[in-house]
Amino acid sequence: MGACSTRSTRLGNRLHTFKRPSILPGFWPAFGYTAIYLSLIVLVPLSAIFFKTATSSWEHIWTVVTSPQVVASYRLSFGASLAAGGVSVAVGFLVAWVLVRYEFPGKALVDALVDLPFALPTAVAGIALTSLYTENGWIGQYLAPLGIKVAFTPLGVIVALTFIGLPFVIRSVQPVLADADQELEEAASSLGATRWQIFTLVIFPLIRPALLTGFALAFARALGEYGSVIFIAGNLPMKTEITPLLIVTKLEQYDYAGATAIAAALLITSFILLLGINVLQRRTRKFLEPA
């Protein structure tokens, strides 16, 4: 009946609806390799988290993710990440503003240094920050007489997470600030607006989505951050343990189920955050390029 040929045309049709024809070669090898490599390195190993979680009972998972030590770590991780995100937004906005609007000697160097936290290995950042903020460190010695302890307290966690988060905010705000239409400010000014009014009513609304994006990126990164935090945190149980550290602790005790349950909770939170960031960025782009 020629079933074979109809099947192959049907397959052909289905492939056509999947991919638009093109004269360029190499789609199938490139796509196939991408799909296989992505599955092997990322998707299959990542799915292990959910399969492993599914093998334990809900009661067990629930007791693990709501045990006092773990809840204390959520409080620290979320609180410190929020605070660090806030500081990053304030400081990052200032730095971005100065880098975009003003001229000063060494500006290119400062601009390049913004990316240092991306480039510096987290463990190096961790021990360097710790040495600065201990009681006899370069900065710590001036804070100690004021009764401010940074190293081995939640404040230290915030400092480390700010170091990590700052570039996210600066790099989100910079291009938007640079692209912001100066004509809008000129129009506002010619209509009699004061400098402060221009800032709060024209400039700030323009860059608010970018600030929010930077905050969310910094926050998401801070939640999972490990290397730069564990040294300065001191890891006192119930006090300065971050959530990723508890995953490591459970693993070291061969409590795979416990580690996986906490990891699943953290992972789901991160993905929800990233989804939000995607929506935000799409909105920012729409804002910048009105169709």
């Binding site: 999947f18 991919k19 004269i23 200032l94 913004v114 240092l116 480039a119 510096l120 790099r171």
Partner: protein, 286 residues
Amino acid sequence: MSTAALPLSAPTVRVVKRDPLPVQLGLTALALLAMGLFIVLPLVAVFVQAFAKGLEGYRSAVQSPETRSAIYLSLLTVGVAVPLNTVFGMAAAWAVTKFQFRGKNILVTLIDIPFGVSPVISGLIYVLVFGAQGWFGEWFSDHDIQIIFAVPGIILATTFVTFPFVARELISLMESQGTDEEEAALVLGASGWQMFWKITLPNIKWGLLYGVVLCTARALGEFGAVSVVSGHIRGETNTLPLHVEILYNEYNYSGAFAVASLLSVIAVISLALKKFLEHKTGLESQ
């Protein structure tokens, strides 16, 4: 709102004055102070502490056999993970940017996943798959192949963490370049590989290098993921960042900072390269 702003007659006339000089100076000083405190000072601290025990102490820390084996393992890891992710990045970018197919956006989102995963979880997933209690753990231990607490695990975790770097750079670059030049080459009779070597590769070379630099810097510096899968066996499964941690936890601070200074030099070099390549590609830094 109905009174539209009149178009300025001459482009040189600027109605908006720049911020007054005191404001400019004040804000610039504040910003520089913040950058100095938060970002530059930690870097300076690394180098000062590295030489706390003089040049001799520095040299002995950097030249110890354990440091050497850590350097070797770090280079080996980079040597495998970066080429793997580079080939993947080119394949993914080719498929995503030169063709229209269903589910493209989903594919691009999936490629970005490792950026959103905590380093610790990036290590954990490989323990779950290959560890003693893992999916394939029994099979591998029956065949005397060790992955977790051994070099393959370190390489796998590093590959995961640095997975999106090259792909992401190339996708945004090649998206903007379109397909016209490749199509012209094919119409003029070039073979697929000729088109790739003579058109595509020259067009993307700086962007490709940019992605490779970012990928290498992260691969060398990765700590959390590698820490989970390494088992911390001295002289065997210690990369440079893990070696820094061990020295530090043994209160050998100057040694830890000496090794850290090696990583910091590489970080600074990668920053310089990044700036240079951004200039070359005209890429906006994200």
